[in-house]
Symmetry: C3
Subunit: 320 residues, 3 copies
């Protein structure tokens, strides 16, 4: 694996999940693998879980991890080819990329969408330019449209549950839109849809209010409905997530508490496990009742971020 920005970079999803499970069972099993290697974690946007779990994963593999908050500790980068840099950007990725590629063996980058111009965001120019110029393997710590480390964690968490309590059928996985107070990226939802579809081992349903359709590029293969109750019926896993509109881009039309998942709605499921990528706005996106209940997997999901990151790093280190 030479880069990790989408599920399309993964040759075998189940093999990667298995590797993550091996890392979880024995965190320091591969602690010699990354000895003498250096990984750079570049943030153009804030992070808690992603940053810390990736640092921990790198250290478990014996690598040195250096965090650099590009926006706060450095300056604004330019990504546009041919730009006349007389504005706010101080350094072009054409210059910063190859320099960073000389200092690090692997580079990780987080870069959020603007949510202002869909075409720009969905072109993923930032991360593609970064890959083009870095000259070393690049891992996405969440880009404009995708969050693959989260999705790998999600499938790892689902696989663990299916291992504990096997079903004699495909699990029903529901991705349900949740209310929020401000426009959020579509990354986590896009990425989860892309991974579950590529995995192919689930009965996958996406439910959201009118006008919140995601890009078909990622959802194709899933059943899509605006009837949340019907979607939840018999669900084994319910993934709760807000996202802003895709079609009329980056808006929040409806912030309807009726879409918040409740215990009442959960009765309709097959004692479904509830998932969320965190951070979660309690009692806006999801109730305390559900988050603190026995069906919540959110803490376990977040803990699994370490092993997902470690599996990806392992894959990159062994395929170099």
């Amino acid at each position: 694996m030479k880069q990790f920005i989408s599920v399309t970079d993964v040759a075998d999803i189940n093999a990667l999940i298995k590797k993550a499970m091996v890392c979880k069972a024995e965190p320091l099993k591969y602690q010699q693998l990354g000895a003498g290697k250096r990984i750079g974690l570049l943030f153009l946007n804030p992070s808690l879980r992603t940053r810390l779990s990736t640092q921990v994963a790198a250290r478990n593999l014996g690598m040195e991890a250096i965090v650099f908050n590009v926006d706060k500790e450095g300056w604004a980068l330019e990504f546009e080819e041919g730009a006349i840099m007389s504005g706010n950007t101080v350094e072009h990725i054409k210059d910063a990329g190859p320099v960073l590629g000389q200092y690090f063996d692997i580079l990780c980058i987080r870069t959020f969408p603007s949510l202002k111009n869909r075409e720009d965001d969905y072109s993923e120019m930032f991360i593609h330019q970064f890959i083009k110029y870095a000259g070393v393997p690049v891992i996405s710590l969440e880009s404009a449209t995708l969050h693959p480390l989260q999705s790998l964690t999600d499938l790892l968490t689902i696989s663990e549950q299916l291992g504990i309590k096997p079903l004699n059928r495909k699990p029903k996985i529901v991705l349900t839109w949740a209310p929020h107070i401000k426009p959020l990226p579509q990354c986590v939802a896009n990425s989860f849809a892309e991974w579950v579809n590529a995995w192919g081992e689930a009965d996958f349903v996406i439910t959201h209010p009118q006008d919140y359709e995601l890009s078909e590029q990622f959802t194709k293969g899933a059943t899509i409905t605006q009837d949340q109750d019907a979607a939840l019926a018999g669900a084994d896993f319910v993934y709760v997530k807000n996202w802003s509109t895709y079609t009329d881009y980056g808006k929040v039309y409806e912030n309807d508490p009726a879409w918040m998942l409740t215990e009442e709605k959960m009765k309709n499921t097959n004692q479904a496990k509830v998932m969320h990528c965190l951070p979660v706005r309690r009692n806006v996106e999801l109730s305390d009742e559900i988050l603190d209940g026995s069906h919540s997997l959110v803490t376990r999901q977040a803990g699994n971020r370490v092993w997902a990151a470690q599996a990806v790093l392992h894959e990159i280190l062994t395929s170099k």
Copy 2:
């Protein structure tokens, strides 16, 4: 020791001071103790000495220390139970705590008081919620009302001096209020009072202007007077510190240069050593003359922060 947020967490103060002295004499003596352990240093507020000395202490014990400036690199945390998170806070400690507890073996946190609502600050909700949800040992890097790593350093520094030049009586220790330009927390003063009282090996006097009474919860046992001259008479150690009002909470009534310690006032002492936790506003809280003089212990105190932190980490690592 399962947590370190107050002197009440310490079974034997002198034993802890002795351990700090051992660490100082031989910094790398226990460098295998923390091997493979990871410590998270979380800052909701700025820090210089506390952060760096704790990093150094952790490394001396072979631990990996990761600093995370929650406010700058992450986002605002919610600490209130049952909050409907439709405001500025992005993640609840109920979610962040257990996640961080999965990534780290020990967690350290700094969280300042608001100085707006005394009841809230003195409830120490932030650090108590953090402890409740982290699931691993927690060390205070200064909380709303206390700064125990500073106080341990202070007693270590006093003990060192008493070792160099023993007295055939209890030392007289004076905590004196000093002027400042803005309202500061009562933490360092509260904590110093709490520790000296618990230690019980000093003649302890607190002096401050009218209306600057500290909470009895911490000062009980000390002699309290508004007569600075009387307080200083025969003092062996003078701890200088500003704090804002406790009763009519968080105010600065008097910023009277007359309370600034001078060489003239020091003549009344028993050639007292002068202490301050730093940072100090020179020529406002304390004069250059005293800070640069031979009786100042402030640099030594700050250096001792490493050994105090190392003793506490040692205690936690060995009692797990």
Copy 3:
């Protein structure tokens, strides 16, 4: 070497360049040298290359490097002797310096000029006060008037080129002013001039528009002209850099695109290699055409920052 803030701290420039080349050839050759040593990297201003390359260099020597963004993670420092600190500065370097000197074996600091008061900036009070009070060796990561790690890198890069393609005469090195959109320090230009003059192995020409004279303190020995074409004629190396005015301090009089280096102007040179310290404002300071062309050394220069830093650290570690 006890400090590294100017070329005057270097006993033998070519020996230091050679040491950097040795480090580049075998990065981990001296990985035991710094074992157990700790280096503090203090930033009062932002940095990308300088910070990361120095971290990498320190690690290559087995040292632990701790980064501290003084302005963002700490608070404003006071540098003026005798200051009555009733303003914005929270801690005096007289207190912070000795404390940091207790925590670290070597301290590195970046502190930019104000560009408001030439006398103040050129007094280099900040870094001199820091050295005075730190009590351990200090390395400049760029100060008010100089950037010695950059200049060492520059001479290393030039020496490498001369090694690849030797000349049977002194190389002609031209430092040419370039347009920019805002006033920049004179540091890189001053420092490059100081180092090339001290090195003494070049035919050195500085060219800039009227009113952009640099301080003679650094340029003395160089040929200075306002005729860019004449300067470039037969040049082997062209160092491109903007700086603000020195005489009428900190101004940008002329931001004349005519001074931007073009392929057309380069025809007049001896197929000169083009250098820049980065970050560069593309198509303002330097055209894409030149930066992306085969004559550009900028990426190589930036990569060499690691080896320059490593040579300086090696020098300090072995002369302690």
